[in-house]
Amino acid sequence: MTLNRRDFLKTSFGAAGLAVTAGLAGCATTQTGSAGPKVVVVGAGFGGAAFSRYLKMWAPTANVTLIEPNAKFTSCPYSNTVLAGINKMEDITHPYDYLKKAVDNFVPDTVTAIDTTKQTVTTAGGRTFAYDKLVLAGGIELLFDKVQGYDAEAQKTVMHAWKAGPQTATLRKQLEAMPDGGTFVMSVPMAPYRCPPGPYERACMVASYFKQAKPKSKIIILDGNPDIASKKPLFVAAWTRHFGYGTDNSMIDFRGNNQPRAVDVKKMMVSTEFDDVKGDVINVVPPMRAAEVCGLAGVRDGSGGNWCTIDYRTFESKVVKNVHILGDSALTNFPKSGSVANNTGKMCAYALSEQFAGRPFDPAPVVTNTCYSGTGMGTAFHVATVFRWDEAKQSMVPPKDANGISSAESELEMAFMESWAKNVWADTLGLPESYNFTAKG
């Protein structure tokens, strides 16, 4: 949705707009803090946390309420290093203490209802928050019912580990308990999905652990996509160099066009349209869509009702006013990465802070992605892209030469990947310069 000047004035929260805002938010009962426009943020991942922190820096009078069910932040990026045994869960887990101080209200709760007409959000704890702007940064919802047999009971044995946390820790334990000579079966969902290179990095990381601890073991990758969907030449080179890929003795067996249709925990078997594959450890990432909260707000309008279309300049939903969608839930040209979630959080904070100050939106926003993948063998590589608003295409696209991947894996890029992780965590959560990071490369 493009705002013309009249719309802009109507929705402006400039000096004259504040009185209107106070009137709109008259039914609010629970928010304390700053007197400006009420902004309710759902989800304190890379998108929601970065948004909240930057909005308070750039529009200090905004009243920011951040609702997040988890007690601590656990990072999906870098979580594959836990599967490799390089890091422990505590190395990728960080406190919300600093973020709590940055916002007006930090609410440890789960959102159960959203009324986009009355502009209110209700939580499981029974609290209702009024909003002028609602920001949904809930990540993804996993669709277990799209895989036959992947019910609550099966989920006790088959991990997805596509939301970092207890799932990651359990999958690591399963890999540790697997005998040498065992088979690890893992899956890759159909695009678009969270973290395009993540599954292939996972294969590297688990292979690096097997190579060192149980070298007779195998990894079977069941990929719903026809081919490796991200950084293909770099992953093929890494698998070849480190894990014998392309030889009879390859540790990694890649099978494209093989989307898991069913799991059978008793037989420890995954079935695709072509194969029934048995494994000692099974790791199925089911199909996914925009987070549950996007369903509650009625903003899953795109891609068969799975993802949320947005206006690139504000991240406002194209179907519901005053609802903005960040990170993995949004349907955009951007990959669903931590860097993008963090960056789009700032982009939305920038747009709203300009609007609250009575200024027009930036007509030519710039946003970037930098995404590293580790091999588990002391090296890493990247994809990096700059996206700019293109008026003719009404979209954000990379300018010439502003998109590409590494020429080769390197130790230098592993050092950069480790530094990236620390910096994106610090930037997202407001961790101080003195914070003691323990994650290793």
């Binding site: 930057y54 802070s353 930036d362 300018p399 502003a402 950069f416 990071f437």
Partner: protein, 100 residues
């Protein structure tokens, strides 16, 4: 020639958006925040990626141009440098130089 005009226009847009002289250049501030997921909050980095806070503006602009034309070898920075205009290099340089 066209590229030069585009760059000049981008500079004007940047000035227009930044508003009154002496006010904070909010567009530069946002673009600088784009850098911080790698280079650290306020351009102060943890680890191997260099900090950007307090860099001398001429040095910053020269490095960005060198990344773009390939005269300084790079991993990710060649792609990032190709995504910004010269006027944006200048605005970013000024912003990072102002951080103590």
């Amino acid at each position: 020639m066209n590229k030069k005009i585009t760059l000049a226009l981008a500079g004007l847009v940047s000035l227009a958006v930044s508003g009154v002289a002496g006010a904070v250049d909010t567009r530069a501030r946002f673009m600088a925040a784009n850098c911080s997921y790698c280079h650290g909050p306020n351009g102060k980095s943890h680890g191997a990626i260099p900090s950007l806070a307090g860099l001398e503006p001429g040095y910053f602009v020269d490095q960005m141009k060198a990344f773009r034309d390939g005269s300084r070898p790079a991993t990710v920075m060649k792609k990032h440098a190709a995504g910004y205009t010269d006027a944006e290099f200048e605005a970013l340089a000024k912003y990072f130089a102002s951080i103590k």
